[in-house]
């Protein structure tokens, strides 16, 4: 079981926090602090697994983490999860979040490195990141790992939200403006580290 997903920056400021086991608020903050303390001590060339935190689950739990530029992505798991599997899952999730954002948020420079989720994206769209993650992990268990599937579902849900209750004028103008933009092409294939992805062909917005 995945007990928690914690994303925080190099100074320990939380960017996304999701607990799959109940903890009181002050305990949650303590866990965040302890996790940051443990993870930030690690060099860059050591392994991605950490033991020794005491707050979440006693001895049967590990921290599996990846460090991307200014962000730490930490999954707190118990022994029922495959450590290497979760390590891959973190990478997959980061890529998914990136792809989802770059469809939604019309950024001029799509040659941004896909490996780095922009911290600002997380800060200003925390709820959207939750919705994306909800398609990957549910109730502390891995739900879906097919990137095409996830990205497509996220996009459909976002459309549902936008289409509801009538758009006010401004977004409608933005929509047509975007339709008329010459968007640079989203790469068809992404190769990062161990993972190759074929980016889903999403219908034009």
């Amino acid at each position: 079981m995945i007990k928690a997903i914690l994303i925080f920056n190099n100074h320990g400021k939380p960017r996304l926090i999701r607990f799959y086991q109940y903890f009181a608020e002050d305990m949650q903050q303590q866990i965040i602090r302890e996790t940051f303390h443990l993870v930030s001590k690690r060099d860059d060339n050591v392994c991605n697994f950490l033991e020794g935190g005491s707050l979440i689950g006693g001895s049967d739990y590990k921290l599996i983490y990846r460090h991307y530029a200014t962000l730490y992505f930490v999954f707190c798991v118990d022994s029922s999860e495959s450590e290497l599997g979760i390590l891959d899952l973190i990478q997959v999730s980061v890529i998914i979040v990136n792809v989802c954002f770059h469809v939604q948020v019309f950024v001029e420079t799509l040659d941004k490195c896909f490996e780095n989720v922009c911290e600002l994206d997380l800060i200003f769209h925390m709820d959207k990141v939750h919705y994306i993650l909800q398609e990957v992990v549910m109730g502390g268990m891995v739900l879906e790992t097919n990137m095409n599937e996830i990205v497509a579902q996220v996009e459909l849900q976002n459309r549902m939200e936008k289409s509801e209750g009538g758009l006010s004028a401004a977004p409608a103008r933005a929509v047509s403006a975007v339709k008329n933009m010459n968007l640079p092409e989203i790469p068809r294939n992404i190769n990062i580290g161990d993972i190759n992805i074929k980016v889903p062909s999403l219908s034009p917005f």
């Binding site: 608020e25 697994f49 925390m126 502390g140 268990m141 161990d194 993972i195």
Partner: protein
């Protein structure tokens, strides 16, 4: 949008205090908005509150708003409402009961996205009552035509089974039939559900063993399929699903010949054909190895498996080395000889600079200690102790003591090992081990002189390590006469006067570094010396009487009793037998026995009068 504005304002705060002020104002505004009956920006307000909550500020006033939002017909409001409920509520709060009805309705909503919100929330925080109530609905959804819903219903069912194991019966038939679905998400959910059903109730194992051929087929399909871009990760087809299936096969094959036979070929195939150059392949290979080791597999396959782990131990990638040690740990009890072959590499990992790798290497090394290798292993372990990261030190010392006790080739070796650890890492030795160490020392009677000399010399250079101090004080008290004689077979002679000894004991008594337990040991040692020395009885008497008014109650009590020994029963003092093991004993003229001190768990000495009559 409004929450971005708030976020910008919060981020522009330059101090913690300023941030608190901003957030207080924002929360007041949010509260006011919540109280208004209608509000165009309801979802924005809740989103703001969730942001504030993530930063660690109180947000419980938003709970009812979540309940209201969940009941809204608008998807945008439901969405954030459910998210809020998952962040702010848990089943212990009353507000969570209020969303049961919404969840129930939403589970049968016409839109799959709304159904999905309800499923997600139920799987995260469904209480036992909610689960009982909604289980039939979930079971119905497991048979629904839509894979998106099916896979979520499967994980929901897992949550329900965890909450109410008896409801597992309800899901067993559907779980089995889900295995014929083609959608990987559904398969994944089905395998997780079946795993949970088997782990919760071993009675289900027979039923699901019938599914072994199907599971084997699924794996074969994944392993031999051509490149499938949909599920491909580094050349491996859906490694996540493969790992799950392998785990389930492990549970089903355990202790069962027939099931193990049925999966043998497949496991051999996966073990030999999986490309482990990337993480995904390694993940699959490891699960395969663990499954092979856990079921009743052929011995040839077992050897193959352990060799795979051994190879990975030499991998350049630290993650792989770490995982291979974790895996070896799981099989070290059952396949001890096989793992022993890799002892050299494991011991080398003790020197790795990565603390996680060191930790695994320590665990494994301790598990691999045996009578045959105790001398060389202890050398390595003691060497490790000197560079050991602080968080591992006390575990390392305990492990070393255990190993030494089990396999010591000689008493001298054992005492030397104990002394080495106490002297180099005495500060990390756990308090609870002190009585045992004392016991071991007292039994090695030919080595008393050697031991007390070594400990005394360590003590005079460093009184900060409490366990060392306690053991040393005890020895000085017991064997002080041997210490004062000055010569000892195996150590260069050193002249130790009574004053020297009393000096060091008094220093310990007075030092702010000494724990109460250590001071107790020091005082008792001083007292015991009164029967072993000749020239400084008055000095001892005065120390003891000073501590009669010590603020530490334990010390005071001890001193008062010792004082009494001097005053009233001086002629009896030499007859006192010091016995560490006895309980409270009242006999003779006066009772000076004491129980173990509660707060220090120290193994105190007990004084018991020899019956003079």
């Amino acid at each position: 949008c409004p929450e971005n504005e708030m976020i910008r304002v919060i981020r522009s705060a330059r101090t913690q205090g300023e941030e608190r002020g901003v957030i207080q104002r924002e929360c007041a505004a949010i509260r006011a908005q919540f109280r208004q009956a209608d509000s165009g920006g309801r979802s924005h307000n809740l989103a703001k509150l969730l942001y504030v909550h993530m930063l660690g500020y109180p947000a419980h006033f938003g709970q009812m708003e979540c309940v209201r939002m969940i009941a809204s017909p608008r998807y945008s409001e439901k969405r954030i409402g459910y998210l809020g409920a998952m962040m702010l509520l848990d089943e212990k709060q009353d507000a969570s009961l209020l969303i049961t009805n919404s969840i129930k309705n939403d589970l049968s909503h016409s839109s799959q996205y709304i159904q999905s919100l309800a499923l997600c929330t139920l799987a995260c925080m469904g209480s036992a009552e909610m689960c009982r109530d909604l289980a039939p609905e979930i079971e119905r959804l497991l048979k629904a035509s839509n894979s998106y819903i099916k896979k979520k219903a499967a994980l929901c069912a897992v949550h329900i089974v965890r909450k109410i194991p008896e409801l597992g019966e309800l899901f067993t038939p559907s779980a089995h039939s889900l295995l014929s679905d083609k959608n990987h998400g559904v398969l994944h959910g089905a395998v997780v559900l079946i795993t949970e059903l088997c782990e919760r109730n071993p009675g289900n194992l027979d039923e699901f063993r019938k599914a072994v051929p199907e599971l084997v087929q699924i794996m074969k399909g994944l392993v031999t399929s051509g490149y499938s871009p949909e599920h491909n990760v580094a050349g491996i087809s859906d490694p996540f699903l493969q790992v799950r299936v392998l785990r389930l096969l492990r549970i089903l094959g355990r202790n069962n010949d027939e099931a193990s036979d049925a999966m043998n070929d497949l496991l051999a195939q996966v073990a030999t054909n999986t490309d482990s150059s990337k993480t995904a392949g390694s993940a699959v290979l490891y699960e395969t190895v663990l499954t092979i080791m856990d079921i009743k597999s052929e011995s040839g396959l077992r050897v193959l498996a352990v060799n795979i782990l051994g190879r990975f131990l030499l991998n350049n990638d630290r993650n792989i080395r770490y995982i291979s040690m974790t895996s070896l740990q799981k099989i070290v009890q059952t396949d001890h000889t096989a793992v022993q072959r890799h002892r050299g590499t494991i011991v080398d990992c003790l020197k790795d600079q990565d603390a996680s790798v060191k930790r695994r290497a320590l665990e494994l090394s301790l598990a691999l200690v045996s009578a045959a290798n105790i001398r060389s292993m202890m050398k390595e372990l003691l060497r490790f102790l000197s560079t050991c990261p602080p968080e591992l030190r006390s575990h390392a010392t305990s492990g070393i003591f255990n190993a030494a006790e089990r396999y010591a080739p000689s008493q001298r070796w054992h005492i030397d090992t104990i002394l080495h650890v106490l002297i180099t890492a005495g500060g990390d030795v756990r308090d609870e081990t002190v009585p045992n160490l004392i016991q071991l020392i007292s039994v090695a009677s030919e080595l008393h002189c050697y031991t007390v000399h070594k400990l005394y010399r360590a003590l005079i250079s460093d009184i900060s390590q409490q366990s060392l101090v306690q053991v040393a004080c005890w020895c000085i008290g017991e064997y002080g006469d041997l210490l004062l004689k000055g010569d000892c077979d195996e150590i260069e002679p050193m002249q130790v006067t009574e004053d020297d000894v009393l000096d060091v004991l008094e220093t310990i008594l007075q030092s702010h570094m000494s724990s109460p337990t250590s001071r107790g040991f020091a005082l008792t040692a001083i007292m015991k010396l009164s029967t072993r020395i000749t020239n400084n009885i008055d000095r001892i008497r005065s120390v003891v009487s000073i501590y009669g008014s010590c603020i530490d109650v334990e010390l005071q009590q001890r001193a008062v009793e010792y004082n009494a020994l001097f005053k009233k029963y001086d002629h009896m003092r030499y007859l006192i037998i010091f016995d560490e093991d006895s309980d409270i004993h009242q006999s003779g003229i006066c009772s000076l026995a004491r129980t173990e001190s509660t707060h220090a768990q120290e193994h105190t000495t007990f004084l018991r009068f020899k019956n003079t009559s």
